[in-house]
């Protein structure tokens, strides 16, 4: 664990170096500068009560002068012994003022209440009186220790047994001797350090031993000053809580570790040693300024205290109890209380009081049917001291049932250690309204629901909901039955259809691609055109043969020859003559014979018989197919 080292300057913040320097400078200046007029006198005693075997310091301060002469009174039972005088000169905003302080030791000759009367102070400026001082001289220190044990309720602080010779000690105050397991018990922890001692805290106070949990202490304790048996102490104070987690009778103490810086002092006589105990003398200017410090690590342990930790009773423990112990109050509110369907309502539940708030959990809805609830958020706000405050829970609720009219009651249970009994707090239901739902319908609904429940209850084990109005009516005819429910894409007919379609698309794609390829091939296009035209002419030839139309037949033959050769020779079909054929095909080609016969028929009226026509048709087909 990281060692905590917090420095607390036990002295009153004197800056020794600065003061010494100022003192030397101002001392020289003061002799030549005029002093501000106006004299103020005061007297104070450093303790209002001290034992008879100790002394107190009476300090008389006169401001506005550089010297004075006190006239100490005679008081029965008291002795005054002057210990020295000092002069201080201050410069404030360019103005100088001087003050003189004289210290007297006051020693009691008997016990009792005393009053130091007004002390006349004579200065150059005149004569003034101090205020009277009341104080008490008590029995000797050894008697005080025993009497403190006998009367612990004494309001005056006393060194307890073992504290007398300590420069540091702890006191722990518990206001209970019995507590329940998990209950928080307020505890006050005080660490005393003799004034004039510098101390570094290495740890915060912690419980020695097991079975108790001390709440996290504030790293910066409250720092005060107390006089204990005539000695001034700087007191570090923590207010916290302690929880017993292990049942049984325990003795507990707290401890803290610190490093003390003890001033190394000059060897003193026995008489001086008693003066060292005096707070004034302990702050000796020269001891602090010229002295050295000894570093000493100490563990400060408090006296042991008895605390019995009881177990929580099983009897009467409610279901909603989750470990909260103390005294609590519950308040619940909802916002908004008029909502749209589905709009969340914020339920704010505040548990206020004192106790172990770390174990306080969110109150629970008595009935969550018809509600969607979200996890609550929580925030603890301390109010009124340790273990006191309020824990605020905010929970979002959404009404699922549009007929709901009120937020259900919430329940919170805790154990009251004072009454030694469990207490269950229940908030009343909070009415709210869902917009768009007819009030009348909602009002009638619970009754109708209850009636319906009663009717159905004998038949069914589980509670049922009422019939729903406005449902679409039954179907009077049933459509085709299916044995299973499968997605459309798992049905065989759909798969077949998809496959067929895909095949079709593929075929179409292939054809389209082929057509595109052909469109870019002129030779193929020429071939297809020749074939196409040849097919057409062959059909016409067959018709002419059937009609025994010699002239028509020869005319078709002549046209067929011209078309085929025109495509082949890339020339106009009608412009091809017999001379072109003779020139490019040669005299032996039968196409020339057919072409000649066609021209003779066209211009000379020559006709062919059926047999000749058939021969011509066969030979023409053969010759033209040979051109493809």
């Amino acid at each position: 664990m990281k060692k905590m080292r917090r420095h607390f300057n036990i002295q009153n913040g004197r800056r020794i170096g600065v003061v010494a320097l100022c003192f030397l400078v101002v001392l020289l200046v003061a002799e030549v500068m005029p002093v501000q007029s106006g004299v103020q006198v005061s007297a104070s005693l450093n303790a209002t009560s001290f034992p008879i075997d100790r002394v107190a310091a009476l300090t008389i301060t006169v401001k506005g002068t550089r010297s004075f002469e006190p006239q100490m009174p005679e008081v029965d039972g008291l002795q005054f012994q002057q210990r020295g005088q000092s002069t201080q000169i201050e410069m404030i905003n360019g103005d100088f003022s001087a003050s003189v302080t004289t210290v007297y030791l006051v020693q009691g000759l008997r016990e009792g209440k005393f009053t130091i009367p007004a002390i006349p102070i004579s200065t150059k400026e005149g004569r003034q009186l101090t205020q009277p001082i009341d104080f008490e001289i008590t029995a000797s220190q050894s008697a005080a220790v025993s009497s403190s044990a006998q009367s612990p309720s004494s309001s005056k602080p006393r060194l307890r047994s073992g504290e007398a010779e300590q420069v540091a000690f702890m006191r722990v105050t518990l206001n209970k001797e019995k507590s329940y397991s998990g209950e928080v018990v307020p505890v006050q922890i005080k660490a005393y350090f003799r004034e004039g001692i510098k101390a570094n805290l290495n740890t915060l106070p912690q419980v020695a031993g097991e079975g108790f949990v001390l709440q996290q202490l504030a790293p910066e304790p409250v720092q005060t000053r107390e006089i204990v048996n005539n000695a001034a102490y700087t007191v570090l104070e923590w207010d916290s809580t302690l929880s017993g987690i292990k049942e049984g009778q325990h003795r507990i103490s707290l401890e803290l570790e610190a490093t003390l810086l003890l001033p190394e002092q000059r060897r003193r006589s026995l008489h001086d040693r008693s003066l060292f105990d005096d707070p004034f003398m302990g702050d000796s200017f020269f001891d602090n300024f010229f002295g050295r410090y000894l570093e000493k690590e100490v563990k400060v342990v408090s006296p042991e205290l008895d605390l019995e930790v009881l177990s929580l009773p099983e009897e009467g423990r409610p279901q909603e109890f989750h470990g909260a112990i103390g005294e609590f109050h519950l308040s619940v509110s909802g916002d908004p209380l008029e909502v749209e369907p589905g709009e969340p309502i914020t339920l704010t539940m505040t548990v206020k009081g004192k106790g172990n708030f770390d174990r306080v959990q969110a109150p629970e809805l008595d009935e969550d049917e018809g509600w969607k609830s979200y996890s609550p958020s929580s925030e603890f706000l301390e109010d009124g001291g340790m273990g006191q405050g309020k824990k605020v829970f905010e929970q979002a609720l959404v009404a699922r049932d549009p007929h709901l009219q009120e937020i259900p009651a919430v329940t919170f249970a805790y154990f009251d250690p004072t009454a030694a009994a469990y207490t269950v707090l229940k908030s009343p239901p909070i009415p709210f309204k869902i917009k768009g739902t007819a009030v009348e319908e909602r009002k009638l609904e619970p009754k109708a629901k209850a009636e319906q429940m009663e009717k159905v209850q004998p038949e069914m084990a589980a509670p049922v909901d009422p019939p729903i109005s406005n449902l679409a009516p039954l179907k009077l005819q049933s459509d085709a039955m299916e044995q299973t429910m499968v997605p459309l894409f798992f049905k065989r007919w759909f798969q077949v259809l998809v496959v067929l379609f895909v095949v079709l698309v593929l075929v179409a794609a292939v054809l389209k691609q082929r057509a595109a390829r052909n469109a870019n091939n002129p030779r193929l296009q020429q071939h297809q055109a020749m074939k196409h035209l040849l097919n057409l002419r062959q059909k016409e030839i067959e018709q002419a043969l059937a009609a025994n139309d010699s002239r028509g037949f020869l005319g078709i033959c002549r046209r067929a020859i011209q078309e085929q050769l025109g495509l082949l020779w890339h020339s106009e079909a009608g412009a091809i003559t017999l001379a072109d054929l003779t020139q490019r095909l040669g005299k032996d080609s039968f196409l020339i014979t057919i072409f000649s016969a066609a021209e003779e028929s066209a211009y000379g009226g020559q006709e062919l018989n059926s047999q000749q026509m058939q021969d011509f048709a066969d030979r023409l087909q053969k010759e033209l197919e040979g051109l493809l």
Partner: protein, 252 residues
């Protein structure tokens, strides 16, 4: 040999006739039971009607039969089974507005509000699985037609490309819808009241909370009789197998 063949044909025809008569008689019986169940519903005997419709559903289901069964359960107060059968009917007839309307009504009545959906989820739930499948098929068909058919004379290529792009876009959207909907194809519906989600697949395990009857759940892995489910609101936990039933009737 010829006589044997004639006898075989005659026997076959007789068997076919007998089978058709049996089927027809079965159909008649089924129709009678169907009408009886409707009459029971009309008399307000919803429990009886649901039992009769349920008996019919054992031999095969149809959207109408499941719709009637769901109505019977709804009126009998068994909202979980009602929603289960509406969901089943919707799988068979996604475009049926009666099914959709009744399902929305009962969910609203029972406070089964759904969490706010993202835009993507809204698109996916706009159609059912089979509707998305049909849309995907049609849009892809159009895409193929637009690209493969020869361009009519005088028509420019740009409209063809626009049409093809749109078709392809709808195909992609439809496929996304198919994927999204198919993830919920095997969802289940909580059919009992007060079912509890647990942190572990044991009856003694701590409860995550109750899950409302009629709530849709998506089952995941299983352990013993428990299934790890996630409901519509995103809550996860182990749910006992008896507490919910799969919409498509997959054995748990």
């Amino acid at each position: 040999m010829k006589g044997y063949g004639q006898k075989s044909v005659c026997a076959g025809c007789f068997l076919l006739l007998l089978l058709s008569q049996t089927l027809w008689a079965g159909g008649q019986e089924r129709e009678r039971q169907f009408q009886e169940a409707i009459q029971a519903y009309g008399r307000g005997e919803y429990k009886v009607a649901s039992q009769q419709f349920q008996a019919l559903a054992r031999d095969g289901v149809s959207a109408d039969l499941l719709f009637n069964l769901a109505n019977s359960y709804a009126q009998a107060g068994e909202s979980g089974r009602a929603i289960l059968n509406y969901e089943r009917a919707r799988r068979l007839a996604p475009a049926d507005s009666d099914i959709k309307g009744n399902l929305e009504l009962i969910r609203k009545e029972k406070g089964l509000f759904q969490e706010e959906q993202s835009i993507g989820q809204r698109v996916i739930t706009f159609f059912e699985l089979n509707q998305w499948t049909g849309l995907a098929a049609i849009s892809f068909f159009l895409f193929a037609i637009v690209l493969l058919l020869p361009l009519p004379p005088g028509l420019k290529r740009m409209p063809r490309y626009v049409a093809a792009t749109l078709s392809l876009f709808f195909t992609a959207v439809a496929i996304s819808g198919i994927i999204g909907q198919y993830q919920h194809w095997n969802d289940g519906v909580v059919i009992i009241q007060g079912a509890r989600l647990r942190v572990s697949p044991f009856a003694s395990a701590a409860s995550v909370g109750t899950i409302q009857e009629g709530r849709l759940v998506r089952p995941g892995k299983s352990h013993g009789s428990y299934f790890l489910v996630e409901d519509e609101t995103g809550r996860r936990g182990w749910l006992e197998g008896d507490a919910f039933e799969s919409i498509v009737g997959v054995e748990k």
